[in-house]
């Protein structure tokens, strides 16, 4: 999967989730598996409360974690979003 910075990402609507001791617990709908996100994953998941483009997510992460390393953040964000897509937790929003 090749994500573009302009792609808009939206959360699936049938996902069970809870913030547990500041980390997000999410259950994948397909297989009912429990997942725990780290701090960055938790931030991205909460940021996706509303749909955002990949670029906006990268900027959001940079701002929240106070880092200028756009290259590294982009890579991490894209890898994470791709995993979320595979698990059916998010999808690309059709314009």
């Amino acid at each position: 999967m090749n994500l573009l910075k302009t792609d808009h990402i939206q959360r699936a609507t049938n996902v069970a989730q809870r913030l547990f001791e500041e980390q997000m617990l999410v259950i994948t709908p397909k297989d009912s598996m429990l997942h725990k996100f780290n701090a960055v994953g938790t931030f991205i998941w909460q940021f996706l409360e509303r749909s955002h483009s990949v670029e906006e997510i990268v900027q959001g992460v940079q701002k929240h974690f106070d880092t200028n390393d756009e290259e590294a953040v982009s890579q991490d964000v894209i890898t994470f979003i791709e995993k979320l897509c595979e698990k059916g937790l998010v999808s690309l929003k059709s314009e």
């Binding site: 049938n14 069970a16 809870r18 547990f20 001791e21 009912s32």
Partner: protein
């Protein structure tokens, strides 16, 4: 190695976060199962949809993630889909437990739109006549099987649930095969709650039956290591789990009748952090000497609810727990 779910549950238990909540929506049911303790209880007022909406919201704030919706039969509530809609809105992972009678092809399709993780369908037997007789409802077996098939067609996980008793002993073997055939999971329990307080259920297994059943299921321990015998008597009730009855009464566990208050009179959190809940947790440290000094405790699948319902105190011993522990000890010895 712990799975993630086990380690989250342990953390929740240490911090008293009610991760799993078992809700009995109603005592009404369209079956009259032979062992059902609910039939001996009075019908009770049921919380309305609006009241459950408030309770769900309070449970969410308290950290609850898993909701089990049961009854009675949960599908007799006409607003069951509104309740599921609310559970989805509040991002709960829902498990339903049903006899399958009201699950049509259309209902199975509708369930896909919610955050339903699985549906448990009760089977007393793998034989039509026996299941129908034990559920008190002719046609129940065929309908339950259809319900399973329709749910699976929609890709919904189904758990075939079976309570082993003296009335249907041995059926677990054929039911396990049926579960495989119907592509569902199989959960088997051999705890039969008595409907008359103070005695073990007439349907409770004998030590030899426990041995046969546990050996067949490949279970040769209660799941705790020998040097962890205090943990053997611990239960997560009132810590990472709790139950709420149809009228809003909060319990440490849905089958443990130690009321902690009513969620229609006080907020969930004020009850969860209140005196009754705290003294329940404190009292778990003072179980009866019969249990704390018991040589079988590492084999015991301690359940305070069974102890209370079969005896006089949730801190005491229980006939069926002792029989089961005895069976596990004998299996262990034979293995050695």
């Amino acid at each position: 190695m712990d799975t993630l779910a086990q380690s989250i549950n342990r953390e929740a238990s240490q911090k008293n976060i009610p991760l799993s909540v078992f809700i009995e929506l109603t005592r009404r049911c369209n079956c009259t199962c032979y062992y059902c303790y609910q039939q001996s209880l009075q019908q009770t007022k049921e919380l309305s949809l609006e009241q459950w909406q408030q309770v769900f919201s309070q449970l969410k704030s308290a950290g609850a993630l898993y909701l089990t919706l049961s009854g009675g039969e949960p599908f007799v509530r006409e607003d069951i889909f509104d309740l599921l809609k609310e559970a989805k809105k509040q991002n709960f992972a829902v498990s339903l437990i049903s006899n399958g009678l009201l699950i049509s092809e259309v209902v199975a399709k509708q369930l896909k739109d919610f955050t339903v993780m699985d549906v448990g369908i009760s089977f007393h037997a793998a034989e039509r006549d026996l299941h129908d007789r034990l559920s008190g409802m002719p046609g129940c077996f065929d309908q339950a099987k259809k319900a399973v098939t329709w749910l699976r067609q929609e890709g919904i996980k189904v758990v075939l649930k079976h309570s082993v008793s003296t009335e249907n002993f041995g059926q677990f073997k054929a039911l396990q095969r049926l579960a495989t055939q119907l592509d569902c999971a199989f959960e088997c329990d051999c705890t039969v709650l008595p409907d008359t307080p103070g005695t073990a259920s007439n349907y409770s297994l004998t030590v030899d039956q426990y041995k046969e059943f546990l050996t067949y299921m490949g279970q040769d321990s209660a799941g705790c290591s020998v040097d962890d015998d205090q943990a053997a008597l611990h239960c997560d009730a009132g810590r990472s789990l709790c139950g709420i009855g149809p009228n809003g009464t909060l319990y440490p566990c849905i089958i443990l009748p130690v009321p902690l208050g009513n969620v229609t009179e006080s907020s969930f959190m004020s009850l969860w952090e209140g005196d009754l809940a705290n003294s329940f947790r404190k009292n778990e440290k003072s179980l009866s000497k019969e249990c704390t000094l018991c040589a079988l405790k590492v084999h015991c699948s301690r359940c305070h609810a069974v102890a209370l319902l079969e005896g006089h105190s949730w801190q005491g011993k229980s006939h069926s727990l002792c029989a089961r522990a005895n069976a596990l000890q004998q299996i262990g010895k034979q293995k050695k």
